[in-house]
C-alpha cells in the first residue's frame, strides 16, 4: 500500500530562517508592490488606522435653496 510522506510534515529548522516586521500596508490585498517587504523596527510604534471619512449627507428636497428642480 502506498505510504504518504507524513514525516515531511514538520516545522522547518529555525536556524535557516530569518524574520522581520513589515508595514501593515501588506494587510491590504490591493497593495502589491516590492516595498512591502521593507523591514521596520520591531518596536516601531503602531500607526493608527486612518479614520473613516464621513460622506457628506445629501440634502433633502426641503433643504434645497428654494429652486425648483428641472423635473419638479
Amino acid at each position: 500500500m502506498e505510504q504518504p510522506p507524513i514525516d515531511l510534515i514538520r516545522p522547518f529548522d529555525s536556524d535557516k530562517m530569518k524574520a522581520w516586521r513589515v508595514d501593515r500596508r501588506i494587510n491590504n490585498v490591493k497593495i502589491n508592490e516590492p516595498s512591502l517587504d521593507q523591514p521596520i523596527q520591531d518596536d516601531a510604534p503602531i500607526p493608527e488606522k486612518p479614520k473613516r471619512v464621513e460622506k457628506p449627507q445629501r440634502k433633502t428636497k426641503s433643504e434645497n435653496s428654494g429652486q425648483l428642480g428641472m423635473f419638479g
Binding site: 502506498e2 505510504q3 504518504p4 510522506p5 507524513i6 515531511l8 510534515i9 514538520r10 516545522p11 522547518f12 529548522d13 529555525s14 535557516k16 530562517m17 530569518k18 524574520a19 522581520w20 516586521r21 513589515v22 508595514d23 501593515r24 501588506i26 494587510n27 490585498v29 497593495i31 502589491n32 508592490e33 516590492p34 512591502l36 517587504d37 523591514p39 503602531i46
Partner: protein
C-alpha cells in the same frame, strides 16, 4: 495559518530552482506577486505522471473538494490544510495521497496579535534569500454540469518552529519542504521503490 506570501521569482527562476527544464514554450504568464492572497491564481508545481517531469500550473488558492456543488456557498476555510489531520475525513485524504504540490515562495507572512483589534505582520524567509517551497495539496474542481472546472490548492500547516513562535506567538506555520525532499513529496510512487530498511 498561512494566509499571505510573496513570490518575487519569475517563471525562469522558478524553472531553475525546481528543475522544471525548458519553460520558454510554456503558455503560462505571471508576474511577481508581492502580496499573494487567498482566492487568487498562483503558480504551483506538480508531478506530471504522463511525462515524468515536474510541471508548473496556475491554480486557485482555495481548495475545493469534488463534493462542492457551489463554491460561493461552500463556507469551510480551505486555504490551509492542517497537517496532523490530512488522513482524516473526506476533504483532504485523497488529495494528500495522490495530489501533492509545491508552492514556490520567497517569503511568507504571519501576524502577531497585539490586542483583539490589532495584528502586526512579520515576514519569514530563508537566510540565504533562496526561493523555497511550501507543501500543498490540490484537486481539480468541476461544476455539477461539467461546464466549468478549476485546479485548486491549499497550503499545509504544522506547529510553529521556535523563530515563528517567538516573533508572533502564533500556533501554526506552513510546512516547508527541503530541496532534497521535493521529489518524494511530489511523486507518490517513489516511496514504493525505496529499499526496505
Amino acid at each position: 495559518m498561512c494566509g499571505r506570501y510573496q513570490r518575487r521569482a519569475d517563471k525562469q527562476r522558478i524553472a531553475e530552482a525546481f528543475q522544471l527544464g525548458n519553460v520558454d514554450g510554456l503558455a503560462l504568464e505571471f508576474v511577481p506577486d508581492y502580496n499573494a492572497a487567498p482566492q487568487s491564481m498562483q503558480p504551483v508545481i506538480v508531478w506530471d505522471k504522463q511525462f515524468g517531469t515536474r510541471s508548473l500550473y496556475m491554480m486557485f488558492w482555495r481548495f475545493l473538494p469534488p463534493y462542492v456543488t457551489d463554491p460561493k456557498k461552500f463556507k469551510l476555510d480551505t486555504i490551509n490544510a492542517k497537517g496532523e489531520t490530512l488522513l482524516d475525513g473526506n476533504t483532504w485524504r485523497y488529495a494528500f495521497l495522490h495530489y501533492r504540490c509545491l508552492v514556490p515562495v520567497d517569503s511568507f507572512i504571519e501576524w502577531k496579535r497585539i490586542d483583539p483589534k490589532t495584528k502586526l505582520p512579520w515576514m519569514f524567509a530563508m537566510k540565504d534569500d533562496e526561493l523555497f517551497a511550501l507543501a500543498g495539496v490540490y484537486r481539480r474542481w468541476r461544476s455539477p454540469d461539467r461546464k466549468s472546472e478549476m485546479d485548486t490548492f491549499a497550503i499545509i500547516t504544522t506547529e510553529p518552529n521556535e523563530l515563528l513562535a517567538e516573533k508572533t506567538g502564533h500556533d501554526r506555520m506552513p510546512v516547508i519542504i527541503k530541496r532534497s525532499d521535493y521529489q518524494r513529496w511530489l511523486e507518490p510512487e517513489t516511496w514504493n521503490s525505496l529499499p526496505s530498511i
